[in-house]
Homo-oligomer: 125 residues x 2
DNA sequence: TGTCATTCAATGACGCGTCATATAAATTGA
DNA sequence: TCAATTTATATGACGCGTCATTGAATGACA
């Protein structure tokens, strides 16, 4: 039975959903209008920027985000077409790809990150 | 600057995302395989079931979920086609619709809710 | 070394959500 | 009472994510 506990769980879950949707929508709109990229694209840029010095394998990125491998592949496509990152195939294992921010990608990330953090602060507080 | 605070915000946000995606995916798969409905469909059933005695306007539902009006309309479509709910136009205001669970919808909700709560418990603990 | 299994990434078909609009009904106010 | 506005829902075009599959490279091991 445990109906009371169930109610609490459902409330908690709805809270998470609401926070997630509200925040994601706010960031997405802002990034889209100011930088012409979506939240997903930014998140990949952000992950690449974090592993700054080491070049960054797609596989590794996949482990640090809830995104699907397939989704990743398509986001990376878009980012490459937008000139924000470049793909380099790995010498040691030619199945792997290294990703790197282009100068444009680096600059855009720097600016977009400010907006991103500000909106997180506003929505998660 | 506030780089440290920013890191904390980003971590918090990623935690929310991970929890959200992991939980949603788990519930969605389970409901899909056992009851042939998605998480979104279940959530609407759940909301209708909550406003048990009073018939339930779409508008009201919209206020209790982060879903778009458009999304709602389509989910309700699917639920109706699946024979789980019925739409009744309102006499007082013929723009509004009342939603009601069918017997099948009611039974399915009862069973699916057990699964739903169990997975919430498992994932949000 | 040759086969079989495994791993990394890309792709096509498909479903769902979103945006912008449409439709229809109700409300407002001159 | 008749426009103009607002409100409730539906719909079509479109983009993105997912699933299943493919292609290509590597690994395992007899």
């Amino acid at each position: 039975m445990a109906t009371l506990q169930d109610r609490a769980l459902v409330e908690q879950w709805r809270g998470i959903q609401t926070t997630y949707f509200r925040t994601a929508a706010a960031i997405d709109r802002a990034l889209e209008s100011k930088f012409s990229i979506g939240l997903t694209e930014f998140e990949i840029l952000d992950l690449i920027a974090e592993s700054a010095d080491a070049a960054c394998r797609m596989k590794q990125l996949g482990e640090r985000t809830p995104m699907t491998q397939s989704a990743m592949s398509k986001v990376v496509d878009r980012l490459e077409k937008a000139g924000l990152i470049s793909r380099h195939s790995c010498e040691d294992d030619r199945r792997s790809l290294f990703l790197e921010l282009t100068d444009a990608g680096c600059a855009l990330h720097r600016d977009a990150a400010v907006e991103h953090r500000a909106l997180l602060k506003e929505n998660l507080a």
